[in-house]
């Protein structure tokens, strides 16, 4: 799922400066799961903003609402009435959800309450690791399930580069594992080292503006749109 984290309060305060009636909208999807934008975090942010307003002696009113997901226009309708009464909306969803919220209420400023970090997995409660860059060309089948695009800090496809350390970590500080070292170990364990002998050609990046996905079976339905 998408992993996100709350922006520093000062940044949010700066973005909502001058707006009296602020609506904080949480998201029950990914950002709730990663403890960044669910019910609790939405109320916490509203509290923080009110406290700040009190100490800064600025008038502020904070409403909160959590929608099921912010990445679906129908589910955003639930926010319509409260949004009409707001001078500004803070979205506690990922960037995609915040953007859709801004599209749904184009006359109201929508600002992000979160920084979207990555597509990742839960290592532990509140501890997440990046696992996918959504490159559109999944090669996990050849790499023992370890993604070189995401987990190699240089994203090389014919690794490992010369920077693998003695303990199998990356040359970059921070103790991250060398993805290609791990790929080698896993494929060795599976008796599939031959996969590493192929020279992988350059990636065909599909980097032509925002991508659209129409799932198989739905092509006709959206042919005209």
């Amino acid at each position: 799922m998408v992993k996100a984290t709350r922006k520093p309060l000062e940044q949010i305060v700066e973005m909502v400066k001058g707006y009296q009636r602020v609506l904080v909208v949480g998201c029950g999807g990914c950002s709730s799961v990663c403890l960044a934008g669910g019910q609790r975090e939405t109320q916490e942010l509203a509290q923080d903003l009110l406290e700040h307003a009190r100490s800064a002696k600025v008038p502020r009113q904070c409403d909160t609402l959590v929608v099921e997901r912010q990445c679906n226009p129908e589910l955003l309708q639930e926010a319509e009435e409260q949004a009409r009464n707001a001078d500004c909306i803070i979205s506690m969803a990922c960037g995609a959800g915040a953007g859709l919220m801004a599209d749904a209420f184009p006359t109201t400023p929508v600002v992000p309450g979160l920084d979207t970090m990555f597509i990742g997995v839960d290592r532990d409660v509140g501890y997440y690791e990046e696992r996918c860059r959504s490159c559109g060309t999944c090669m996990l089948g050849d790499t023992g399930g370890i993604c070189p695009v995401t987990r190699c800090s240089k994203g090389v496809l014919n690794g490992p580069c010369g920077g693998t350390k003695e303990d199998g970590s990356c040359e970059l500080a921070g103790g991250i594992h060398c993805a290609w070292h791990d790929i080698h170990e896993r494929l060795k364990g599976q008796g599939r080292l031959d996969k590493l002998l192929i020279v992988r050609p350059p990636m065909e990046w599909v980097d032509r503006g925002p991508r659209v996905l129409v799932q198989k079976g739905y092509e006709e339905r959206y042919a005209k749109k």
């Binding site: 240089k154 490992p160 303990d167």
Partner: protein
Amino acid sequence: MKSGSNLEKVLEAGHFAVTAELGPPAGSDVEYVRKKAELLRGAVDAVNVTDNQTAVVRMSSAAVSALLVQMGIEPVMQMVCRDRNRIAMQSDILGAVALGIRNLTCLTGDHQGFGNQAGAKKVYDLDSVQLVSAARRMRDEHRLLGSEEDLLGQVPLFIGAAANPFAKPYEFRALRLAKKAEAGADYVQTQCVFDVAMFAEWMKAVRDLGVTKKCRILAGVIPLKSAGMTRYMVENVPGVIIPEEIQKRMADAPKGKGSEVGLAICAEIIQQLRAIEGVSGIHIMAIEWEQKVRQIVETARLLPRPQVA
């Protein structure tokens, strides 16, 4: 001849080749380049020009290589994958050839996190193996990646890469070099060797894979300047192994004699490397110590450098 470069000729004639590294200035000072280059003139067969090494911004390797061409000193232009996508890299290769550059060493490149532009966006559109392959396609098929259109003019390049026998997973390192050779590397310049026994073992694996038949191996050496530098390298430079015996010799060097001991160790290592089957030359990385290269080559009895027509 693939490129007609001096380095290629020296190697083809069966001589033991010598290359050395020149680090471009952090600035636009041409005199700095000329002074460093003069230190290397006649002492080596070709001069590697590093490409923003350790991700610190310096004068571009293409520009410095072109300055060397003007001076009549043969450059090996290094090109890293960190900063440019395939459009820029193929374009810069064509430009380099036009400027008279004939040797190209293709490298992954140190991560931007090391340097003075840590907030930069990394590129790595191609990796080093793919860059070798792209350069080979330009030279041999006169085509760009993914294009069937003929390029105007020839791309005579001697194409190289790097190899590091001293990084994990050790057992894969010879195979990775084989991939580079398969992609089209005519030569490789290795990470600096201090552990000659380990290097010899790697060389055996490299020979057994048949790599030395199509790809020349230039073994890298770094002269140690002091006990402090030795310690720094042991602690901070990934993929470098300095045996304890060498560390001890550097640590025990009398005050002010560290560089002398370091140069002596370097000379010994070169002699040992020359005896290893399949080693076709050495690559001297005297970091900000270019003035010692001639002495190193002379001590190794590799002067004068051969003149191959």
